[in-house]
Amino acid sequence: MLAANPGSRPLAGGQSLLNVLKHRAAEVEAVIDISRLEELRGIEGDGSGGIEIGAACSYDQIAGSGAVAAAHPKVAEVADGLVDQQVRCRGTIGGNACFNDPGSNYPPLLVAMEATMRVTGPGGDRKVAAGDFFQDTYRVDLGPGELLRSIVLAPAGDATVGYSSLQMASDSWAVARAVARIRCNGTIAEPRVVIGCVSGAQPRAAAVEQAVDGAEPSAEAITAAAARVDEGIEPGGDAHASGAYRRKMATVMVERALTEATERARGDDG
């Protein structure tokens, strides 16, 4: 149906798209309700720590899933903290990913976790790395008639994730966010540090990654690495915060995310 109706948009939880439509912010020829497609609503573990989350799974479903909590606790924690109970009942992880506002919660997490996005469409199924899926603000790698089917997360193994956001009020959009995924066996390895709230490209902080790769998981090393977040990343200013403030806060968010990831690696999160 999506392919047969150019200009149509899929509607899942509607917690973003309906406001877009109300504000006439997008021209949509037809809205196609996918919210009850059972194929998009499952959460399946592969038995070895990997997990596949259907695109139309609600935040509430993810937050309450023992399988997600066991395999990738941060994915469940983020769902549990999202907005409010009503939005958690309706909003979906796939909608959050495909909307791809710079401030959306899941895109930077999925990039840091190196998720695989399973896309289906008239040309068949294909898989896209999360790092390539998020192209720019409100733009993702979905062609005409294509739909995000599910999000696949490989077994975490010994990887841990830290996630830090700055919100001015408990209900407001974050102005700065960072997600860090590391492995840590004495020293930090394979770091993936993604800066949220900057652009829909969900950029990785290459200079920070380089600086922490192989470093001791010490406060000093983390602080020094986090200070390099502005190498290559230029947050823009808007009514909520100036670019300079966002840059400064991105440094703090990176520091906190890396600290959380190293603490989790030590088992400090309980």
Binding site: N19, D33, D171
Partner: protein
């Protein structure tokens, strides 16, 4: 398809009663409930999914009805405030004066009932978190939280509908 005003036949359950009708594709659930079904207990506060005054239950889930299309109700059951909140919750809101202007109350009751079904003995923090999606512009939150605490199983004096709040210090929020 651009200029076509689509309509959709929907079958659904309204407060336990089966219903069937036709709705315009662009109609929001909250307008359908208020204007077509004539149930004015579901309020419109913001129309943008922020205030929670239009909160109803759809298939048991907690939903802001301004953030769902009426056409999406097909095959679902919807429960509005007219179905009547649990007497215990209603009495607690009354006893704790958890109502000032009353505009947010239907949504508050829906969210409170949803919480208590999942968690019969919530802490004060859990109650605040559960009511986060409901805004009271009279800022009567303290009394609302206290009313939900009053119903919570195992809480102090639970089941006792006496004036317990009169003897309790007001907590900072």
């Amino acid at each position: 398809m651009a200029d076509v005003e689509s309509t959709h036949s929907i079958e659904f359950e309204l407060n336990g009663e089966p219903k069937a009708t036709v709705v315009p594709g662009r109609e929001l659930l909250v307008h359908f409930i208020r204007d077509d079904l004539g149930l004015k207990g579901t309020h419109i506060g913001c129309d943008t999914g922020n205030c929670g005054a239009c909160t109803v239950r759809v298939d048991g889930q907690l939903v802001k009805s301004c953030m769902m299309l009426a056409a999406q109700l097909d095959g679902c059951s919807v429960e509005t405030i007219e179905a009547g909140p649990a007497a215990e919750l209603r009495e607690a809101f009354n006893a704790e004066h958890a109502v000032q202007c009353g505009y947010c109350t239907p949504g508050m009751l829906a969210s409170a009932a949803f919480l208590l079904e999942r968690n019969p003995d919530p802490s004060s923090d859990e109650i605040r978190r559960a009511l986060k999606g409901n805004i009271c512009r009279c800022t009567g939150y303290e009394n609302i939280v206290r009313a939900v605490e009053r119903v919570a199983a195992g809480g102090p004096n639970s089941g006792d509908m006496g004036p317990k709040s009169a003897h309790r210090p007001v907590e900072a929020s």
